[in-house]
């Protein structure tokens, strides 16, 4: 089929999302001359995506359940704005079949798979069944929801689990993005874990359906980028390794996956395309695989949307995945460039790494740390791309995902990409809230990571933040002591590198030094 990409694919597109991904989509629309419509909650009235879009609509108060997850409010905004398409981004409503169907029912194009495909893939158990029916290897586990609370259920679950083999993972059928998962090592804990997981799943996903899967020790998480058009063409655009995780959530992603041969790649890309074909995939999606230490690949699930980490694939392939999503949604066939890239990516000639900078404290088990960003200077320079949803002075709300920014680097090979990533990490300046930055600085010098020996349990096994943070605290104390040392004058302080021009950062500048000032205060104020 001949391509005609002369007119913009859409006139006006609403982005049903926030943060960095909303900005990412707005940028793609700008490049294709599509007008953009943002939606926002009360917490985001002044957010970057609202400022960047051509127009914006409020959809509710801060909690996502009352704003970004309210399908009716978002569709009403699209109708009011006269949008002819909606891009859902990732998370929120992106994989909800009912939302996609409601959008299409209003005559608006949903940038994503068909509602039927979403419904099929949203149920992870159905996805496992479909993979099995298509001879795609899957992790040993159940193919039916686990019943809980009934007579004899406990014994039944126990016998299934011992058949699968411990450790087992209890997973929510409607889960995703690493949520709704529990690992069980001890058979005595199984029943309680299944009950708790089912309760959690009901609360988080509206369905109590859970299933069991064998937990593979030392495995890697490898996923294949897929693109499919409305004419039945489906290609794989290379793979990504996303093994560096905590709590089953990704911290670092890279493309290509280190250590795979061209044959390995061809095989896993082929499996992914087979799964995609079996569910009639259209638009962008990702097939996730677990790769064992011995190199076997087992299908896990399909995420039927743009992934957070899509940028590493863009840097390696040269393909703009959001552009392609929009052309596909407008009915265009896959371009010749996409088809050519899908062949080239069996032997990629570049390497890209993405670091997720999140508002989390890596010294407190990556606990979320909302707050005000008092300092934020992004890296730049050759081979560096930054996709951010924040700016200096903004307050990070506790209502949403803690992802602030993604730092992506690209270089001719993995070693070069790691060096470039170290440089970019050193350039990023942060203040006000703790981020995952120190973790990245550590990882990029971790021997196992540097050698390419990535595993999903690397963070749990090797991340020991206390000594690192304490060394940083000692240096921080030295820096403050220096600042306060006697004889330090106002003019000297004003000349401190990096301070000029940023009044907020100016250290206390008093005649005779701050040390003397503290001593004076001691003399003039009485205690107690």
């Amino acid at each position: 089929m001949k391509q005609s990409r002369t007119e913009p694919p859409f006139r006006r597109l609403l982005i049903a999302n926030r943060g960095e991904i909303a900005l990412r989509i707005i940028r793609a629309c700008r490049e294709l001359d599509i007008e953009t419509v943002a939606v926002f909650s009360d917490a985001d009235a002044d957010a970057l995506h609202v400022r960047a879009a051509d127009q914006s609509y409020r959809v509710g108060p801060a909690p996502a359940a009352a704003s970004y997850l309210v399908a009716d409010a978002i569709i009403a905004a699209a109708v009011a704005a006269g949008a002819d398409a909606i891009h859902p981004g990732y998370g929120f409503l992106s994989e909800q079949a009912a939302f996609a169907a409601a959008v299409e029912a209003r005559g608006i194009v949903f940038v994503g798979p068909t509602p039927d495909t979403l419904a099929g893939l949203g149920d992870k158990i159905a996805a496992r069944q479909s993979a099995r029916a298509n001879d795609v290897p899957i992790v040993p586990g159940t193919f039916e929801p686990i019943a809980v609370g009934g007579v004899g259920d406990e014994q039944r679950i126990a016998s299934i689990a011992s058949e699968i083999g411990y450790p087992v993972l209890v997973k929510a059928a409607a889960g995703g993005g690493g949520r709704g998962m529990r690992r069980v090592d001890d058979p005595a804990e199984l029943s309680a874990a299944v009950t708790a997981a089912a309760g959690e799943a009901l609360q988080s996903f509206g369905s109590a359906s859970v299933y069991l899967e064998h937990y593979v020790e030392g495995g890697r998480h490898v996923e294949v980028q897929l693109l499919g058009d409305a004419h039945g063409n489906i290609v794989a655009l290379g793979e990504r390794d996303c093994s560096i995780q905590r709590r089953h959530q990704k911290l670092v992603e890279e493309a290509p996956a280190p250590g795979l041969t061209a044959d390995d790649r061809r095989r896993i890309h082929g499996l992914a395309v087979r799964v995609a074909r079996s569910v009639g995939l259209r638009n962008a999606a990702t097939a996730e695989f677990l790769v064992t230490g011995s190199g076997e690949a087992y299908f896990l699930e399909v995420n039927a949307r743009l992934q957070v980490e899509h940028g590493v694939t863009e840097l390696v392939s040269g393909i703009d995945l959001v552009h392609e999503q929009l052309w596909i949604a407008a009915g265009q066939p896959l371009s010749d460039e996409v088809v050519a890239a899908s062949h080239d990516l069996v032997q990629p000639d570049r390497h890209a790494i993405e670091l997720r900078i999140s508002a989390e404290d890596p010294a407190r088990a990556f606990a979320p740390m909302p707050g005000r960003i008092s300092r934020w200077r992004e890296p730049a320079g050759p081979g560096v791309r930054v996709d951010s949803g924040v700016a200096e002075g903004m307050t990070v709300s506790g209502d949403y995902d803690p992802l602030l920014s993604k730092i992506l680097v690209v270089a001719p090979d993995r070693d070069g990409a790691i060096r470039r990533a170290r440089r970019a990490v050193a350039e990023l300046e942060t203040g006000g809230i703790q981020t995952t930055l120190p973790f990245h600085a550590w990882l990029l010098r971790h021997p196992a990571f540097v050698s390419g020996a990535v595993r999903t349990d690397l963070v749990d096994r090797d991340w020991a933040p206390s000594p690192l943070r304490e060394a940083a605290a000692r240096r921080a104390i030295s820096a403050v002591a220096q600042l306060l040392r006697p004889g330090r004058s106002a003019s000297e302080d004003a000349g401190t590198p990096g301070v000029a021009g940023h009044p907020d950062d100016r250290p206390d500048a008093t005649t005779g030094g701050a040390w003397a000032q503290i001593a004076r205060r001691e003399a003039t104020e009485r205690w107690p």
Binding site: G398, D401, G431, A476, P497, D504, A514
Partner: protein
């Protein structure tokens, strides 16, 4: 005025790092680190304390600076009140902003150290607040669904 001693405290995750220096000491040179002065809290003002933030290798470290003599005096006063048995009820404050997801206790609940009191959900993650010591819950300041800010009162264990 005699050479003054300065107490510098880097606030830690579990333990704070405390360093005392006299004006004659020569701290390590850290040219590339620029401390940022933070607005003093009410406690800082009362204690005559200065508060700085320094980012080191991505770690955002808060350092307080005050006269070591004053700090010693205050510590003595605190110890004194503990000895005379005025430990008093303990007010638990929110260490992260978020929404109250669950409350396991009510006024009058007897708790042991480490018992779950309530949980705060922030950014898709539930954080449990546990009893720092045994006692009786004498107040619960929040209910499920409430929004809490950093430092909000949550509950009092008497």
């Amino acid at each position: 005025m005699s050479p003054s001693r300065l107490r510098l405290v880097a606030l830690g995750v579990d333990d704070d790092l405390v360093v005392e220096l006299t004006s004659a000491d020569d701290p390590d040179v850290e040219h590339r680190l620029v401390p940022r002065r933070l607005a003093p809290t009410a406690d800082d003002r009362a204690a005559g304390r200065d508060r700085f933030e320094v980012t080191v290798d991505g770690w955002v470290i808060v350092v307080t600076a005050e006269s070591a003599d004053r700090a010693a005096l205050r510590e003595r006063a605190t110890r004194l009140s503990a000895v005379t048995g005025h430990a008093g009820p303990l007010t638990l404050k929110a260490k992260i902003p978020g929404r109250v997801a669950r409350v396991w206790v009510t006024v009058g609940t007897e708790v042991q150290q480490g018992d779950r009191l309530l949980s705060i959900e922030a950014m898709k993650m539930e954080n449990e607040i546990r009893a720092p010591r045994a006692g009786t819950v004498s107040a619960v300041a929040v209910a499920v669904g409430d929004r809490v800010e950093l430092g909000s009162d949550l509950a009092v264990v008497g």
